[in-house]
Amino acid sequence: MDRIAGIINLDHEQDVLDELTYFRCSAAVPFAGRYRMIDFAISNMANSRIDSVAVFARRKYRSLMDHLEQGKYWDLDRKRGGLFILPPDWNDPTDISKGDLQHFHNNIDFITRTLADYVVVTGTQNICNINYENVLREHKESGADVTVVYKKVEELYPEFRRSHKLDIDENQRVTAIHNDQHNNNVYMDMYIIEKNYLYGLIEDCIAHGCSHFFLDGIKGRLPDINIHAYEYSGGHALINSVESYYRHSFNLLDESEHDRLFKEESPILTKVKNEAPSKYLESSEVKNSLVANGCVIGGDVEDSILFRGVKVEKGAVIRNSVIMQRCEIDSNAVLENVILDKDCRISNGRTLVGAPEKPFVLAKRNTM
């Protein structure tokens, strides 16, 4: 029985979702009506029977702590292993590590003490539903040092500009990692690696003053190390901007897109909130929308996503918008192309209209 440990490395995830990341890191941004971005990464691990997960957090991680607790919603509140949120702990003046290697170095106990033989390292911006046991199987068969996961995308949307792309030979071996805007093999910011090999690379990177483990320790060693490419073919959304967030939110209104991310056999788990079922009043008119529990809807909602506990009064109109937890939309308010963060309140009769390509975003706890 091969065991895998997981590392969710948030160190390179810029907080680029504008108002949505004013108060939280992007991993904690709400998505798809009832989830946070990081739920996908953690659920994928839990569904792959990974029972030891470290989260390398650096900035604005408090809402992450609130959300993850000790991992109980993923059955990761364990004595052995479990979920660890690892914020910075750089009090050792003799520590010479830099960048994300500070995390790897400071938390080397996580790697050395785990009973797992393999480690999956991933970010949270590539939303997907992947089974790492399959990745491991292919990794072992390939005999590679590292196996990276990529998605062959059909269209090179703007969000892929910042992603690395892979050149792959006929044996699925990676021959180059670069930023070529015409390559559609998008590296998904996740890889699997043998624990001891990872440990050696970390030591070596620190000794050489590296500051970015993937770039310096893996990409930079091509072609000396054997990198295998695992093609992920399921549902995928890269969210690294308000625009990509907004577009992928609406993609979920398509049933087949939705079902590629949410599967019965590998469910995406999240913190349980015990909201009542949503209530649709006599006056409500809801069309083509995703609605989480705890909402009370009296107005019109179309082509939109309502998170948990949203109140929409009679006469209010919401179109092409994402409305997060516990927002209240008073009667006769009109919202179009808007993203409201948590706990916003839109008063009677107010109108907010953004552009379809650039939604109007309101930070949390605003009253307008």
């Binding site: 015990n274 909201e275 949503s278 809801v286 529990n293």
Partner: protein, 387 residues
């Protein structure tokens, strides 16, 4: 460490009046309100009232309740000391056997209660939908120094004879108890919620067990015995929503009560959450073709048809052209194109084929119960009312 108060939840009733809904599951496990099972209400009341030790007495094989309750984490009852325990009748060195009555069920778990050495025992039944702070009742019980306190609610006089009724004096002391009297002299009905001093209850349980003629029932035997001995019994008046959901009609009615604009039972009250096991479903989807009004819909539903004045549990899918009206649709039911459902309760996992017609729209008609899991309702069944 002692527990001040331990709750014992009587979940053994076979609930035969709920017909096939309780064929495979005990009554407390019956679905309610789009998301819950009946037992979620007393368990949530316990945790919200600060009572963290609950024994659930079940007459049936314990697996189903064990599976639903798990380690109690859904209700915050996964405690190191205390928490929730399912207590089926088990074999004992002095022999085993079925619980012969509500009092006998508690009697046979005296050892369980003694572990916690409680001062008071709260006895609950698993048949009612209500939100109640047992902590306030306990305070009342302690303040009045009662041997037993019975929670009562005013019921309409015309329904009173269906209940166990209390006659009280001006101070709330119970002077008489009539179990379902034909000619009620009071409309204060017992809610099936009792608090006893444990030392007193234990004594009466032991005596009751020695009495070969007793039916070992709280209402029929224990309460009368206490009254007979002039023990101090107090009535605690409860105000709020309380409903027995022991029949198909009352279960349907209680569900419909939630659809009022300001329902008496508020499920969105953050200070008194009703906890429930979480089925991990994604957000519900209401399609372009859908029309939803005056309804409660749970996560995991995909609605393409019309839903009016109905309650849909998780995982229900309705196709285009379908109509669900005045109905309760339990988890994972699939409703085909152009199917129509009126005044029905459709049980878990049923597949309703395209074009099927179920139920009777006339307001006086009986509620149709489709209660065979996995049933495929084809057109040929369309006008049949299956009970």
């Amino acid at each position: 460490m002692n527990k001040e108060c331990v709750a014992m939840l009587l979940a053994g009733g076979q609930g035969t009046r709920l017909k096939s809904l309780t064929k495979q599951i005990a009554k407390p496990a019956v679905y309610f309100g789009g998301k819950y099972r009946i037992i979620d209400f007393p368990l949530s009341n316990c945790t919200n009232s600060g009572i963290d030790t609950v024994g659930v007495l079940t007459q049936y094989e314990p697996l189903i309740l064990n599976d639903y309750i798990g380690i109690g984490s859904s209700w915050d009852l996964d405690r190191k000391y205390g928490g929730v325990s399912v207590l089926p009748p088990y074999m004992q060195s002095e022999g085993g056997g079925w619980y012969t009555g509500t009092a006998n069920a508690i009697y046979r778990n005296i050892k369980f209660l003694n572990q916690y050495n409680p001062e008071h025992v709260l006895v609950l039944s698993g048949d009612h939908i209500y939100k109640m702070d047992y902590g306030k009742m306990l305070d009342y019980h302690k303040e009045t120094g009662a041997d037993a306190t019975i929670s009562v609610i005013q019921v309409p006089w015309e329904e009173a004879s269906r209940f166990g009724l209390m006659n009280t004096d001006g101070e709330g002391v119970i002077t008489e108890f009539d179990e379902k009297p034909p000619n009620p002299r009071s409309n204060l009905a017992s809610m099936g919620v009792y608090i006893f001093r444990w030392d007193v209850l234990k004594q009466y349980l032991i005596e009751d067990n020695q009495n070969g003629e007793s039916s070992n029932d709280f209402g029929k035997d224990i309460i009368p015995a206490l009254l007979n001995d002039y023990r101090k019994l107090m009535a605690y008046k409860f105000e709020g929503y309380w409903k027995d959901v022991g029949t198909v009609d009352s279960l349907w009615e209680a569900n419909m009560d939630l659809l009022k604009e300001e329902p008496e039972l508020n499920l969105n009250d953050y200070s008194w959450r009703i906890y429930s096991k979480n089925p991990n479903q994604p957000a519900q989807y209401i399609a372009q073709s859908a029309k939803v009004s005056n309804s409660l819909i749970n996560e995991g539903c995909r609605i393409y048809g019309t839903v009016d004045t109905s309650i849909l549990f998780y995982g229900v899918r309705t196709e285009e052209g379908s109509l669900v009206k005045d109905s309760v649709i339990m988890p994972n039911v699939k409703i085909g194109k152009n199917a129509t459902i009126h005044r029905a309760i459709i049980s878990e996992g049923t597949v309703i084929e395209d074009g099927a017609v179920i139920g009777d729209p006339s307001p006086e008609s009986e509620i149709t119960l489709i209660a065979r899991e996995g049933t495929v309702m084809a057109k040929s069944y369309m006008h049949e009312t299956i009970k």
